[in-house]
Symmetry: C2
Subunit: 410 residues, 2 copies
Amino acid sequence: MKQVIHARCTMCGHTVEAAPETTVCPVCGGILDIEYDYEYIRSTLSKYELLDRTERSMWRYMEFLPVEGIGRTPRLRVGCSPLYKAEKLSQEIGFKGTLYIKDDGLNPTASLKDRASAMAVVKAEEAGKTTIACSSTGNAASSLAGNAAAAGMKTFIFVPARAPKGKVAQLMMFGAKVILVDGSYEDTFRLSAEAIDHYHWYNRNAAINPYLMEGKKTVSLEIAEQLLFKVPDYVALSVGDGCTIAGVWKGFKDLYGAGYIDRLPRLISVQASGCCPINTAASAHTMEWVPQEENTLADSIAVGVPRNPVKALRAIEESDGITVNVSDEEILDAMRLLGRTQGVFAEPAGATGTAGLKKAVETGIIEKDASVVSIVTGNGLKDVANAIKAAGEPLMLPPDMAKLRAALGD
Amino acid sequence: MKQVIHARCTMCGHTVEAAPETTVCPVCGGILDIEYDYEYIRSTLSKYELLDRTERSMWRYMEFLPVEGIGRTPRLRVGCSPLYKAEKLSQEIGFKGTLYIKDDGLNPTASLKDRASAMAVVKAEEAGKTTIACSSTGNAASSLAGNAAAAGMKTFIFVPARAPKGKVAQLMMFGAKVILVDGSYEDTFRLSAEAIDHYHWYNRNAAINPYLMEGKKTVSLEIAEQLLFKVPDYVALSVGDGCTIAGVWKGFKDLYGAGYIDRLPRLISVQASGCCPINTAASAHTMEWVPQEENTLADSIAVGVPRNPVKALRAIEESDGITVNVSDEEILDAMRLLGRTQGVFAEPAGATGTAGLKKAVETGIIEKDASVVSIVTGNGLKDVANAIKAAGEPLMLPPDMAKLRAALGD
């Protein structure tokens, strides 16, 4: 893999060969970062050649990814999600700049996490594994189960017994072996860790696995390409454990390193007011984050103890980023806004970036003529209960035309 | 619109100008069919030019569609859904031929109906309308609401009061005005018809509107292009009111007419045993279909009184098609099969085509070395209740490694 130089520890700076199972620093246990030979990438692929490529998935960016290739194993079509110019939404929030919505809820299992799971499956294959495991009931689990099923790889997924039945059903439909653990989330995580260790399964638990982030960064490669490498002033997105914002930043940095783009965007890190440990630390310009309660209906970002705070905090700091916290009511409002103005149906965490952008515009934190991309990270069909909460009540009428006309003020 | 010659009545043969609001024959009230100037299409666009096109939506086939263009109005990215080679699924069902799964559940509102609704919105704009209406709670309604929202068009959607709250919520998230009618489906339909008439809204009720089918046919244009114009022996899909199978057939016929393909596929029309009026008539080679009860969990194809039986029956007949009826158990089984082997999560009606294909293979109706495309028409996230039914029970364990090892037979 000539494009990858090595993995570097984000804590102690130690470098180590980027092997598929090397996920933490052998010296200090710190999180690793994959470093690329930008000269090599530049000499292998120009951005004009890239624009001509026919591959329509995240694997069109092969030269920027830590893999040799993906072989002939069947894969789901992950990535190449649409980027919509959002003029109506801009008007409604009084934004005079240029706004784009990147709808990553249109991935195969309906969230941005497909990008990470698709990468995890390929790295597991490289490591010679036939089984991957994780403990989760959320988008990580369903994307792992779906992408592994397509590739013919087995999955074990550990979930607390209280997990919603619908989410468990989706995992089982993908053929995952689901272990319902009669205990807390902590018990569940511990059992999964023991089992992964015992059975030598590939581990998708670690949010710290640097390859997952390398998958996620493809969303930025796409955004840049879709804008013909004209980088937006800001990229807004929701933040939970920190992996996604770190991946988004890595994507732009790699493009910048390889000379595909001539500047970097500023990140708008949006968290729920009820659970915002990363934003709290970032706005105080410290790496010393403090665990928080998880008081938000946006379950995909309800992470009181983020697993990737270092990379996330650095990404926000390096990008001269902005932090915005939003209430659950503002999140539900952004769901309605995205649906009504753009025809985009987002889960709560998926609409949180847009909620933050709206607030940033209203409070004047960002220039009214800026260019912004807001990433929708997950599909509203994932969480119909909250859509019902957001939707309000419809008009109820008897089957009577006169009553209808009266109701419509006619 | 030089590519369109006229609309021809499928009943009396009368021809009429293809205007946006001309949806039935002015002479006999029969369903219309849009006829194209294949010579003109051929002279305007070659299949090689088509392959080079960068537009990644159903609108890449503009020369085959009854529109001048789609202007600068924002649109959802409908179409260009993935076509997966399904080797593992083939193995599991003992099929030696070549099988592809076309996953149309990855459309913006998660069903093939987006193709019809996207077209309806453009035709409504051409007709100078600013509001579209229909009565439905299913995929037609959500796709209409989503596609209309993107284009800035208003929608009124009439649903019976008993409609599931989740589906109503999705419509409302797209900003549709939802009228819950306290009455039967018949009452609801009647009120919507009266209102459409009174307010001069564009009508998406009519399954007979020929333009909807022209949108749906793009799934066949894509299949052909994705197979580099090598037509499969069979195309399997679920059938409800008959519009989709008619659209699929029209797509292949138009490609054949324009000389893009050199033969036509045979259609495999799959219905639920509990509701199969079209297959019953088709297998008796008669156009005289008889209404049936709607006894199936596959709600999207539970249509006892199909609204487009003529075109559907002709499509099956003309293609020397095959009819297969499947039980609800076979549908749930196909959902599991698609998920487990291909990582594709289908709603019941979405998996019905695959259920029929499996049965056709098992009963030897189709050759073991044939090439087949099975269309998945809707996403499993649309109907989580039935996914739970299909999924079965997961393994429940205390957080104890010894118990896990015992359960896994280790």
